[in-house]
């Protein structure tokens, strides 16, 4: 760092999922220890995170909404965007599977079946990365679920949305980590997984420092480099193994974006 005392401060706008999973609780102390920066994590929806970046209210973003991110970069709000990791999404629903999702191979087909059966689908509806992915999936399936009676918006985080799905006996798109954490309390099963489109890819974005003189460009750079660095990547690769028997995230630094699609 350098400059005024606030140069040590770094605002990280990130999605609730990283906060909820507990990954940040491990990564941030490691970074702070290594670099001397103090990180203020702000866990919000991806939409809000990007909006904070756009306004220069955050220095660095860790988000998973590829299309919105690309728009963000195209509009020149960010200076660098690097691949960090991914986890994957699954579609869960009631074991009796009224729409017959289990039988479908592609995610697109699963959604078509749900729509055709008019089976209830719970959407987070909060413009989070999960929600954005879900929207992209619907679009790919050529369906506009907005306003349909079976399409329910929970407006809440992943855990609560799973709860709604459980109560309302609906399908929902969830990240694996949250589902694993709540599995015991839910009467929902994984009905669909594995399709490459269900990958949830996290990028770290440094906010354009020319927005205002407050943006901490060096800190952002340091944090981004830390995330794609060896130590962080190792932490990411191990995170969750102790609790679920399998890691929740796959480190992807340095990989080609296209390999993940």
């Amino acid at each position: 760092g350098g400059g005024g005392p606030d140069r040590d401060e770094l605002i990280l706008a990130t999605t609730t999922s990283t906060m909820d999973s507990g990954l940040l609780d491990v990564l941030i102390p490691a970074f702070e220890e290594e670099s001397g920066y103090r990180v203020t994590p702000v866990a919000v929806g991806s939409g809000q995170a990007l909006e904070l970046g756009r306004r220069g209210e955050a220095d660095v973003l860790l988000v998973h909404a590829p299309e919105a991110e690309e728009r963000f970069m195209a509009e020149g709000h960010g200076v660098d965007r690097r691949l960090v990791m991914h986890n994957d999404f699954v579609i869960v629903g009631p074991p009796e599977d009224p729409a017959g999702a289990r039988a479908a191979a592609a995610t697109r087909e699963v959604l078509s079946r749900i729509a055709a059966a008019g089976a209830r689908f719970i959407s987070r509806g909060d413009d989070s990365g999960t929600h954005q992915l879900e929207r992209a999936l619907w679009q790919a399936a050529g369906i506009d679920p907005e306003g349909e009676a079976w399409y329910v918006v929970s407006g809440q985080g992943m855990g609560a949305t799973l709860g709604v799905a459980n109560e309302r006996r609906g399908y929902t798109l969830t990240d694996r980590a949250t589902y694993l954490a709540l599995r015991d309390r839910l009467d929902l099963e994984i009905l669909h997984q594995g399709d490459p489109v269900l990958r949830n890819v996290y990028h770290v974005i440094q906010v354009d420092p020319s927005k205002n003189d407050r943006v901490n460009a060096e800190g952002a750079q340091a944090f981004a480099e830390f995330l794609v660095g060896e130590r962080a990547q190792e932490i990411i690769g191990e995170f969750g193994r102790d609790r679920f028997g399998e890691p929740l995230f796959t480190p992807d630094a340095g990989k080609d974006e296209a390999d993940l699609r």
Partner: protein
């Protein structure tokens, strides 16, 4: 700051254009919170009067509990009610979860301690001889209650206002037991939260402004009732 102006402008247009969805949400918020406040009055006022007038062992404890209820985190209320209303929960069969009725129940739970606590304070603050005077005028138990409440009008109306304000502005419990189901359980506050999460600060402000305007109108009526009558 531009955001705030933006919000004001947007709220104005939402109302003027007569956005059906906005009006629907407004109405639902008003009805749910109104119902909850009414229920809280029906429970809290008799309970509060009882606590104010009767002495019994453990009264201080009950009163502390009521007062703690004023600090019942909406999130906790939402959580506990959710657990109760889950399909596998003890009240699952009622199918209340994610309905407006669940929201009304949650808000009633939040509002009742407020009404009770202030009823106790308001009635206790009255001259105790007033009770005798009212009885001496030939009041039945119910008439006594009513007249005492009229005497304690000022703090009581403040309590109603506070209770209504607490529930109409609350999100934690409403989201948990009601979710934000478009056309079913969406409220002004929950819609605001949603807009915030989406980063649509303009809409969030617009909805807030509408909520505040609504609260202001309702409270202007309450305030007039409260302050009615000449006070030298």
């Amino acid at each position: 700051m531009d955001l705030i102006w933006d919000g004001l402008r947007q709220s104005f247009w939402l109302l003027v254009r007569g956005d059906a969805r906005v009006y629907e949400i407004m109405l639902r918020s008003l009805l749910a919170s109104g119902a909850a406040t009414l229920l809280a009055l029906l429970i809290g006022v008799p309970a509060g009067t009882f606590l104010a007038l009767r002495r019994f062992p453990g009264r201080a404890l009950v009163l502390s509990a009521v007062h703690s209820g004023m600090g019942l985190p909406p999130v906790v209320v939402g959580l506990v009610l959710s657990v109760l209303f889950w399909r596998t929960g003890p009240l699952g069969d009622l199918g209340l979860l994610y309905t407006v009725r669940a929201i009304v129940i949650a808000q009633t739970v939040i509002a009742t301690p407020i009404v009770t606590g202030f009823t106790v304070a308001g009635i206790q603050a009255l001259d105790p001889r007033l009770r005798l005077q009212i009885l001496a005028l030939g009041a039945s138990r119910l008439q006594l209650l009513w007249l005492l409440l009229k005497e304690a009008r000022l703090p009581l109306m403040a309590a109603v206002i506070a209770a209504f304000g607490a529930v109409i502005s609350e999100v934690g419990a409403a989201i948990q037991v009601g979710s934000i189901i478009r056309g079913e359980t969406e409220l002004l506050t929950t819609a605001t939260v949603l807009a915030t999460q989406r980063g649509d600060f303009g809409l969030a402000f617009a909805l807030s402004v509408i909520l505040l305007a609504l609260v202001f109108c309702v409270n202007a009526v309450f305030t007039l009732i409260q302050q009615r009558g000449p006070r030298p």
